[in-house]
Symmetry: C2
């Protein structure tokens, strides 16, 4: 089962390593991870997605809550949440291909963030399915490089 955790922590050296260690110590592989500052000085927020057993996950959450640098842990797995990812894609765009790629850009509401003679860098945001579909469509032009952010998730305002 896929789990999505949002963990608010004090941003000190070593915190990330300890958090990651809780997962790897139980054989859990972190699939995606984001860490970035919040509006509060010295406080960061992580979004972690991982696959694994429910019971072990509960143990990890308990251990996370015990770390003195942990401020808050929210398990978004069971809650209604918005889930967004971002990906940058460098794609071959020589000659006539360019117009065709730009049509795909429009349909997927991507942004072109860099242009050169023979390449484009595109920014796409959305759920994992949308990003996968775009990458598949671009494959035949030649995807040279991708880099993607982990999943960002936020509790929806209206829960049932």
């Amino acid at each position: 089962m896929r789990h999505i955790l949002s963990v608010t922590v004090e941003n000190e050296p070593g915190v990330l390593s300890r958090v990651a260690g809780l997962f790897s110590g139980r054989g859990f592989n972190i699939e995606t991870l984001n860490v970035a500052p919040t509006l509060e000085e010295g406080v960061s927020r992580m979004t972690i997605t991982t696959f694994g057993d429910e019971q072990i996950m509960e143990q990890i959450v308990k251990q996370l809550r015990k770390l003195i640098t942990t401020i808050k842990v929210v398990d978004l797995t069971e809650l209604k949440s918005i889930q967004r990812e971002m990906c940058l894609v460098k794609v071959n765009a020589e000659g006539e291909r360019r117009a065709e790629i730009l049509r795909i850009v429009d349909i997927f509401r991507c942004k072109v963030v860099d242009v050169s003679v023979d390449e484009l860098i595109l920014e796409v945001t959305g759920d994992a399915g949308k990003i996968a579909a775009l990458l598949q469509l671009l494959q035949r032009f030649g995807v040279k490089e991708i880099t993607r952010a982990g999943m960002l998730a936020m509790k929806r305002s209206m829960q049932e």
Copy 2:
């Protein structure tokens, strides 16, 4: 000085913890971090931003390259690169405020990703400065929650 590293790794349990440990072991605080899969099965890519001394950074890069799970390390600090971040913002949007917020959404080319009676969730992408400006503008409506992805960076096609 701010450093941006792009690190391609084999995605095994423990890799993240080891990488993070190299930074914390030298007192470096990771400012933002992204980890997500690449197009290649079992291979993930991390983007790490951190502040610190040049020489210690060089040592960390050397150590990173020595890890058997490391496939590639690119220091994007000195290269021309595209840098993008993504942020989700939950903002109070009751009554007349809503129209005003939607004008800001247009100007900043945000996407509204969730709507309820009294709140909106916005998605914004751009550089850190743009995101900071948006958050400042939204502050007076009441920002309830933010979650942001770390920086994504990609080498520009044209280097000088």
